[in-house]
Symmetry: C2
Subunit: 362 residues, 2 copies
DNA sequence: GGTCCGTTTGGAACCGGTTCCAAACTACGG
DNA sequence: CCGTAGTTTGGAACCGGTTCCAAACGGACC
């Protein structure tokens, strides 16, 4: 990541490339004084005015001769403009803030990587603000990022409240919601509904007639509601399939505790879990009860975490493309920053990965 | 994270708390104009000079009366100082940069969380720079963070090269190395050597006489060398234990491919893996060959990833305290920023977690 | 050669803070 | 009542860029 956007336009000519300077010439020559040279120094050394140098740097009209002189001096000194001074006047940075509820989640990590790599390509930087799943801190972060004059914000929220809306409106900075959807905010979601439907159909086709769906709180619209609704829809299409819905948290441990009672009470042939982590808990719980997977119980998840492939048996799951979605998000937020029109809602794809954790019945 | 350090000293009196202002009064009152009020406005409204307001904000000497006036005006307007203007003059921020090789690693995530939470406490912000395991980008990031005038840098490198040293010297900003150790750089490491020793003794005590050690490249001093050396040392103490050393990468998949040949060629009763991910690969590989864990083969890892508890069987492993280490790192870097003396090397603790993946022989 | 237009250039103001210095005010001892 | 020291205050310069405006320049055309 990093390296500020100096060449705002695509005009090839009077743009100088920051990288060259710091690495090639700057290093060594000036020792500890990294970028202590100012635009005034350059101007003096080149025998021109500050404004001319500034124009040169930003692609304004500069004469052939002058250009060369400035170019040379900048090359020799390893000059690199002071970001603060730039931002002070410009009142804007080339930083995109990303607000995440937690850093230790597969989905978050992958999404961040996607955002980071794409932003890098687009000459933006990513600033990550972690909220540790604290709603207040989510709002705080929005204000704080606004104060730092980030160009745009990508919000990986779990829930959008009235306060979120107010804050987003107040800060007046483009915000893109990722993973959740809201009619008043530009959103990028995974296709949770269709994914739920797909896994429902998949299980029905495999002949399961007694399925437990282990979801999460409906506060989380994407994971708690959409996936379940999609699944329920698919089940309605199928015949004679009995389903019971259960709820747990996102924590593996909670699923681990919850599952035994489900098994006893409902005796399903399959448990469809709303996340891979829940599925991992279910798997462990089933093993603890001495069940064989998939012969005695089939299990599926949602997410496509790499670890699911390495479990024994490999977990059948719905894969979402977090990294790609992150890339899309980066594209979108930059478009918003550039005041381009984009659609309110974008949807990222999914696919079912069939491994060994689901048995074929009948 | 976030919320800039406004009160540099601990003096209680003429410090105003930023949070109150943005939330309590700022919101709503000024609509979209978040922090458009400047210090000049405050000065005018309070009938004092800019310098006086500045002094008030930074804990300088201000009269009782004046204080009250300014306090009131600031409260009413929801003023919040412009960070860029501050940094422009101060040539320093309250941001700590963190350079990480990858975001999708358990160790990294947990460490970042630890850093973030501690820095928050200390009124610093964390800026994460991801390098996608690209050495050039590691150097780039150091320069870039320097340019952004971060107060200090926490470097989660996998390897320290000559270029690292040069760069660190050149940027003239305190750097703390985490997870690796270098005599010329302040370092915070996990006690890889002792951990290796501990697991070696542990396995010997369990009666294993034929152990495969599956490590990683010696380029990584901490994981590739220290853990192995510690392990080797413990084995030397024990009697009649045969060990063979193998090497793989950090990727689960590579371990998965590597392990079968080890099993055939060496027929160990146990595989000690240099990371939990490698152990996960080994576990899967063993299952694929129809082996029972731990009856047919014992497996251990390093790390203490949460997932290891959820595997079947639970993985015996050496737990490192990444989050706590992150907190320590944050403390250290802030001390360095404040020019306090700290020791060159700090060591973070570990403990062996005994689960079901190791069998007792004899 | 003069006029006009477009390009290049320099000077100065400005962004929003911090800091230095000197002036004004206060209090206290002699 | 004055001198002195200490505190409070305002003014101005400064940080390092960007931008506006007007002046200088250069070429084309009449």
């Amino acid at each position: 990541m990093f390296w500020g956007l100096l060449c705002k336009s695509e005009e090839a000519s009077p743009c100088y490339n920051e990288k060259n300077i710091v690495w090639t010439s700057g290093a060594g020559l000036f020792g500890v004084n990294v970028s202590m040279t100012t635009i005034a120094d350059i101007a003096r050394l080149a025998g021109v005015a500050k404004s001319t140098v500034s124009r040169y740097l930003n692609g304004g009209s500069v004469g052939e001769q002058t250009m060369r002189k400035i170019e040379r001096v900048i090359g020799e000194t390893g000059y690199s403009p002071n970001t603060f001074a730039q931002s002070l006047k410009a009142k804007k940075t080339n930083i995109i803030g990303t607000v995440v509820p937690r850093l230790d989640s597969y989905a978050t990590s992958k999404t961040l990587i996607g955002i980071d790599e794409k932003l890098r390509e687009l000459n933006y930087q990513m600033f990550v603000s972690n909220t540790s799943q604290d709603l207040d801190r989510e709002i705080e972060s929005l204000y704080s990022l606004a104060k730092q004059k980030v160009a745009g914000i990508i919000l990986l929220a779990t829930k959008v409240t009235e306060r979120h809306l107010e804050t987003i409106q107040e800060i007046g900075i483009p915000v893109l919601l990722v993973g959740q959807q809201h009619e008043q905010i530009y959103s990028l979601i995974h296709d949770d509904f269709e994914a739920g439907k797909a896994i429902g159909r998949f299980m029905a086709k495999k002949g399961h007639k007694q399925i437990a769906y282990l979801g999460v709180s409906e506060e989380d619209i994407a994971v708690g509601v959409k996936r379940k609704q999609g699944f329920a829809g698919a089940i309605k299409e199928a015949e004679e399939v009995k389903v019971r819905y259960y709820e747990t948290s996102f924590k593996i441990g909670d699923a681990l505790e919850k599952v035994p009672s489900i098994l006893e009470e409902f005796r399903p042939t399959a448990i469809v879990c709303a996340t891979d982590n829940i599925a991992i808990g279910a798997l462990k719980a089933a093993y603890s009860k001495g069940l064989k997977i998939p012969e005695d119980l089939s299990i599926t998840g949602f997410g496509g975490y790499e670890i699911t492939e390495m479990l024994n048996p490999g977990l059948t799951t719905v894969q979402f493309f977090y990294k790609e979605a992150g890339g899309m998000a980066a594209d979108k937020i930059v478009q918003l920053v550039n005041e381009e029109e984009i659609q309110m809602l974008s949807v990222s794809d999914f696919k079912i990965i069939e491994r060994e954790s689901v048995d074929i019945l009948s």
